[in-house]
Amino acid sequence: MLITPLLFTILVTLISGIFSKSVELTFELPDNAVECFYQEIEQNTSASLEYQVITGGQYDVDVKVEGPNKQIIYQQQKMQYDSHPFTAQHTGVYKVCFSNEFSTFSHKLVYMELNVGPEQPLPGIGEHATVLTQLETSADEIHSALNRIIDHQTHHRLKEAQGRKAAEHLNERVLWWSTFETIAIVCVAFAQILILKNFFSDRPTLYNKM
């Protein structure tokens, strides 16, 4: 009889520990495509959406957040990155759409983070009867400071990825363009000579009839 509740609590803690409602996704957005994500949010819960385009085209994307009654909460076009906090007015399914419809050939990589509600407290810490000691308060402060550091790191990582991918792309383009340019110069040089010789040749050709 005692085992079952214990088992349940373990199960409960297992589940609650894993499913905090914050999700970070990096996905590919093909050209002319729309990707939508849905999230159920309770009334009066604060939520925030953060996104950034990592590669592709002009690094821009159309973003739209729609509430349960089809009301538009947030809509931006050709944005590179942004974050938008909002509070849910109604309980229901919120829809976040990323659209690349304006772009016909550039395929993009988009990072998205959706946070819903406050961070889940550690087990036991929420139900504190006594006043927090100084040590506990400072531990809490350190925790939130570290969370901010992790957020900044994520942001920095994405910026770096953006820069790095642009540099790799540039490197490749320099290689191909220079190869092409060298070939073009050699071809033009031969063509020039052939045409010039044609001007002075005795046989009537296309060029000296002009």
Binding site: I18, F27, L135, A161, I193
Partner: protein, 217 residues
């Protein structure tokens, strides 16, 4: 008994909670990929649940036992870390061995009977410190609240350190690319100048001999 019903209630609430995780729609057989850029030795936990569209009710069936999801994880060197067919609901976890972009792809093992129908996929991906289950840690190691908090702080600091060293690694790659571009531009411009001079010289020589042969000069 009271406790039992209470905890089962919480379990129920939390299970309902999961079904409200982020979801998206895919067509059956469609491949959906996500990219996780992570340092090495980092654990990633993926939770998912698939629901099949039910044309009769116009909604999604809460459980569709016939559907399996094929999950594939590739490391930055394009080696397969994990490739398996799972049931319609499950938890996958893997630990990275090489730092970089890990690609996680999911697609249903579609049977031709259902093809073309919609699937709703609930997905939750947790990386690093977020993937640690502190309630479990507290129970296993018999930690007090403060000790647990300190444990969390330590994990966070570890994650930050790992990320920092990975950052260094990526910065090196970035710098190498930039240096390579720089040297390519330099060498190419030198080569280009050389080619231009050679071609110009050859053109003049060639034309001169041509005009002389034609007795134009």
């Amino acid at each position: 008994m009271n406790l039992l019903s209470f905890s089962s209630l919480i379990t129920l609430v939390l299970i309902l909670d999961f079904s409200s995780a982020l979801y998206f729609h895919i067509a059956e057989g469609e491949r959906k990929c996500f990219i996780e850029e992570i340092p090495d030795d980092t654990t990633v936990i993926v939770n998912y649940k698939v629901e099949l569209f039910d044309p009769r009710s116009g909604g999604f069936m809460p459980s569709s036992p016939g559907i399996g999801m094929h999950v594939e994880v590739r490391d930055p060197n394009d080696r397969v870390v994990l490739s398996r067919v799972y049931s319609s609901e499950g938890m996958i976890s893997f630990t990275s061995t090489t730092p970089g972009e890990h690609v996680l792809c999911m697609y249903s093992n579609s049977t031709s009977w259902f093809s073309g129908s919609q699937l709703r996929v609930h997905l939750d991906i947790q990386v690093g410190e977020h993937a640690v289950d502190y309630a479990n840690v507290a129970q296993k190691d018999k930690l007090s609240e403060l000790q647990l908090r300190i444990r969390q702080l330590l994990d966070q600091v570890h994650q930050i350190t790992k990320e920092q060293s990975y950052q260094r690694h990526r910065e090196e790659r970035f710098r190498q690319t930039s240096e390579s571009t720089n040297s390519r531009v330099l060498w190419w411009s030198l080569l280009q100048t050389g080619v231009l001079v050679c071609i110009g010289y050859w053109q003049m020589r060639h034309l001169k001999s041509f005009f002389e042969a034609k007795k134009l000069v």
